[in-house]
């Protein structure tokens, strides 16, 4: 079809991240780091950002150890709370997740995955962490099928995870071990993602945890909170996003902030506060499609 130009649709989103943290006993000194800025990559670009905190302290943009932008706030005086708000405009290209050919030679694909060079290059995301180690007793729950491609296996895994777990808030937290999630069969997007990563890694496919925003309005799970999904490395293609909480491939609705080995690399808020009392954290996320072009 000569002459036919491929035109990408693009979408513009406005994102609000808002958090309120209060500390019963007050703080003498504190440092907070927010990992909430959408990354600039091939499919998305931040066109505007604005940060506010109600302490009157400076919001400094920094880059963390894995290369993602953070906002740091340091309080020098006694405070008992911080309210922080971030506002972004992001332009996102439409993604066609099927924009590649499935491999014709499955043996070659597998050999590539097993090559030393590949394992060395992808070592960080083949490494099993506390949350992405598949417990021994659960290794036969989902098995890769050698007669189909890696991509197809991952798609099946995505679907299987979606079917195996029930989305339920308040039953798991950031410390719930994977074995409990598999056995009780419920959790939130973090848990879906960890399970997906664990099985992919167990099968030798590099896989990383992604934290970001999901455009709301489609009735997807995870649209008023930070969302989590996974990216798996498909040989000869690259990183592909899988959203097992919604049984989807990551699309223009998925606005990525960062990735890491698991949730611990991606926690949206980290703080060091010197206090004895309890603290309370609330946050909300709002994603709005501004316009379509």
């Amino acid at each position: 079809m000569a002459g036919l130009k491929c035109r990408y649709m693009s979408y513009e989103y406005e994102i609000d991240y808002d958090t309120q943290n209060s500390y019963e006993k007050g703080l003498n000194e504190a440092f907070w780091q927010f990992l909430v800025i959408p990354e600039d990559n091939e499919t998305q670009e931040v066109s505007y950002w604005h940060f506010e905190n109600d302490l009157g302290e400076r919001n400094s943009v920094s880059i963390n150890g894995l290369g993602f932008k953070t906002v740091q706030v340091r309080s020098k005086k006694q405070v008992d709370h911080i309210n922080f708000n971030a506002h972004f405009k992001v332009v996102k290209k439409e993604i066609n997740p099927f924009d590649f050919e499935l491999p014709s030679d499955l043996e070659a694909e597998r050999a590539h995955l097993n090559s030393l060079e590949f394992k060395v290059d992808h070592e960080p995301y083949l490494r099993k962490t506390r949350f992405t180690t598949l417990p021994e007793q659960h290794r036969s729950y989902f098995e890769f099928d050698r007669s189909i491609s890696i991509f197809e296996n991952l798609t099946h895994l995505n679907h299987w995870t979606f079917e195996h777990l029930y989305f339920k808030t308040g039953v798991t937290d950031v410390n719930t071990p994977l074995s409990e999630i598999i056995e009780k069969r419920h959790g939130v997007c973090q848990d879906f993602t960890h399970l997906f990563c664990a099985i992919a890694k167990y099968n030798g496919v590099p896989c990383r945890y992604v934290s970001g925003y999901l455009h709301q309005g489609h009735g997807f799970f995870g649209d008023s909170q930070m969302h989590a999904w996974a990216e798996a490395f498909v040989p000869n293609v690259g990183w592909i996003g899988f959203d097992p909480t919604n049984d989807l491939l990551a699309s223009h609705n998925h606005i990525k902030v960062c990735h890491g080995k698991d949730y611990t690399d991606c926690a949206p808020l980290k703080g060091v506060v010197y206090t004895h009392g309890a603290n309370e954290t609330k946050y909300s996320v709002f994603v709005k499609a501004a316009q379509q072009q």
């Binding site: 780091q33 400076r58 920094s62 150890g65 894995l66 030393l116 060395v120 070592e123 960080p124 083949l126």
Partner: protein, 488 residues
């Protein structure tokens, strides 16, 4: 004023067969480098020696040169046991040690650069990938970071022993936060105070230039664009077993000793709080372990470090010495590969030998280890301070079974080595008020900077004070000796 019952200091010294004595030849003759020393000490009685030794020890206490042992319930401050009879290393032997230590440090520095960049040595199948992927000390945050002058292991402590064959062997490399150098200097000071005249007979290199060399090093790796860098030493605090050393080094270099809470990070720059307001810090000699330096990046509940420090480092606004992530290269499982690492990067034969090491992660080697535990030393790969070491020929049958079970449960965590017979040195034993043979090793201190390579001419001779014991670490009840390196 001696009477007939007075004993000279070596009158009851017993030499055991099969041990390599640093002072006496196998025929009982004194080695030539020690001859003058024995003439000088030999005319004294053991009582003279005891009274001098006690004076020297109390001076350690009075100066607060003490340490504490982790997990010790009474947690008493102890002085690092010390005696006034030095160890002497002649210049030819020292040359080998010095060249060997520099060679190792340089090779490990190349290795660190490589594993945090192209990982060629892994792709070329020299070092197995498992050693990276299973190492908790391999920090992905360090990928593609270029530390100033490409130096990672600014300060290395290399533990060397002399085996009964008379050759030097490296037991381990310490390139995280090696400690002990302050004892080297304090031992020398104490010996000079007690027995100044002895030094008139020996041309010994000074050890007090260490702090000067350390400061030169720190200044040489300052961030780009900084003219006169502000350096600090950061310590986990006074409860750390090496706190004395941290404070000593800061004082000797004339820089501030700080704790995490004395620093803060703003806009990716590090500042020190002072009575005159914030002062920018350019180089941090950190004596806090990697995972505690910055709660934003590593252990989130650590209050020892400085939030934001790592981001400031990665941006190049502050230098950390040693660089984060060096622990991947001094893991005892990597140790085995050091001879290959030296050949790979430097194209040289290793100057210092390695002790043969069996990896329990390899099935055939594990089998050998399990069958031969009584002839082997079993070591965990990631513990410092001599913890968790089992020496096969000292174990009962039940203990052997226990060790086997522990190793089998987690083979990657253990390596095994033949039991090396560390050389022995006459050492004054308090309880017996006499000199006896005790096993010794030597920790050398190597400093790598921008165009700077320096090995402290001396090092810390550590002594296993319990008879027959081979573990010399201070946390295991070891002592130390002043160590003299002779000029030509």
């Amino acid at each position: 004023m001696g009477t007939a019952i007075d004993k000279t200091i070596f009158s009851s010294y017993v030499r055991k067969e099969g041990l390599f004595d640093e002072v006496f030849q196998s025929d009982g003759e004194v080695k030539s480098v020690y001859q003058k020393l024995l003439d000088l000490y030999g005319s004294r009685t053991i009582e003279d020696y005891v009274s001098l030794n006690n004076k020297a020890k109390s001076s350690f206490f009075n100066q607060g040169i003490t340490f504490q042992v982790y997990g010790d319930k009474q947690s008493q401050e102890k002085i690092f046991p010390f005696d006034l009879f030095p160890r002497i290393i002649d210049s030819a032997e020292w040359e080998t040690i010095e060249k060997g230590a520099i060679q190792r440090s340089l090779a490990l520095n190349h290795f660190l650069w490589d594993v945090y960049h192209d990982k060629k040595i892994i792709k070329d199948n020299i070092v197995p990938i498992e050693l990276l992927s299973s190492s908790p000390n391999y920090l992905h945050q360090m990928m593609d970071v270029d530390p100033p002058s490409k130096v990672y292991n600014h300060i290395s402590g290399t533990d060397i022993i002399k085996h009964s064959d008379g050759d030097y062997y490296v037991l381990e490399d310490n390139i995280r936060c090696p400690s002990g150098v302050s004892y080297v200097i304090c031992n020398r000071t104490a010996l000079k105070r007690a027995l100044f005249g002895v030094f008139n007979h020996y041309q010994t290199y000074t050890v007090t230039d260490y702090a000067e060399n350390l400061l030169n090093l720190l200044e040489s790796v300052k961030p780009p664009g900084v003219d006169a860098p502000v350096c600090v030493v950061i310590t986990p605090g006074m409860f750390n077993s090496a706190y004395y050393e941290h404070s000593y080094l800061a004082k000797a270099m004339g820089v501030e000793l700080v704790e995490g809470r004395d620093l803060f990070v703003e806009n990716d720059f590090v500042y020190m709080k002072t009575t005159q307001g914030p002062v920018r810090v350019d180089v941090v000699y950190r004596r806090i372990d990697d995972l505690f330096i910055d709660p934003m990046e590593f252990h989130p509940d650590s209050t020892l470090g400085v939030p934001g420090l790592f981001a400031a480092y990665k941006k190049g606004n502050v230098t950390l010495a040693n660089a984060p992530g060096t622990g991947v290269a001094d893991d005892k499982a990597i140790y085995t590969y050091v001879p290959d690492i030296i050949k790979y990067y430097l194209g040289e034969e290793p100057i210092l030998k390695n002790v043969h090491t069996y990896h329990c992660s390899r099935p055939d080697e594990l089998k050998y280890v399990l069958e031969n535990i009584k002839d082997l030393v079993i070591k965990p790969v990631d513990e410092a301070g001599g913890y968790g070491i089992s020496i096969g020929n000292k174990l009962t049958k039940e203990e052997i079974e226990k060790v086997k079970a522990v190793v089998k449960a987690n083979p990657r965590k253990y390596v095994a080595q033949p039991i090396m017979s560390l050389s022995v040195h006459p050492t004054y034993i308090d309880q017996k008020e006499s000199f006896e043979q005790r096993h010794v090793d030597l920790r050398t201190f190597t400093v790598l900077g921008h165009d700077q390579q320096f090995v402290l001419k001396g090092g810390l001779t550590r002594v296993a004070l319990k008879e027959g014991n081979l573990i010399v670490n201070s946390s295991q009840g070891g002592g130390s000796k002043d160590t003299w390196v002779l000029k030509q």
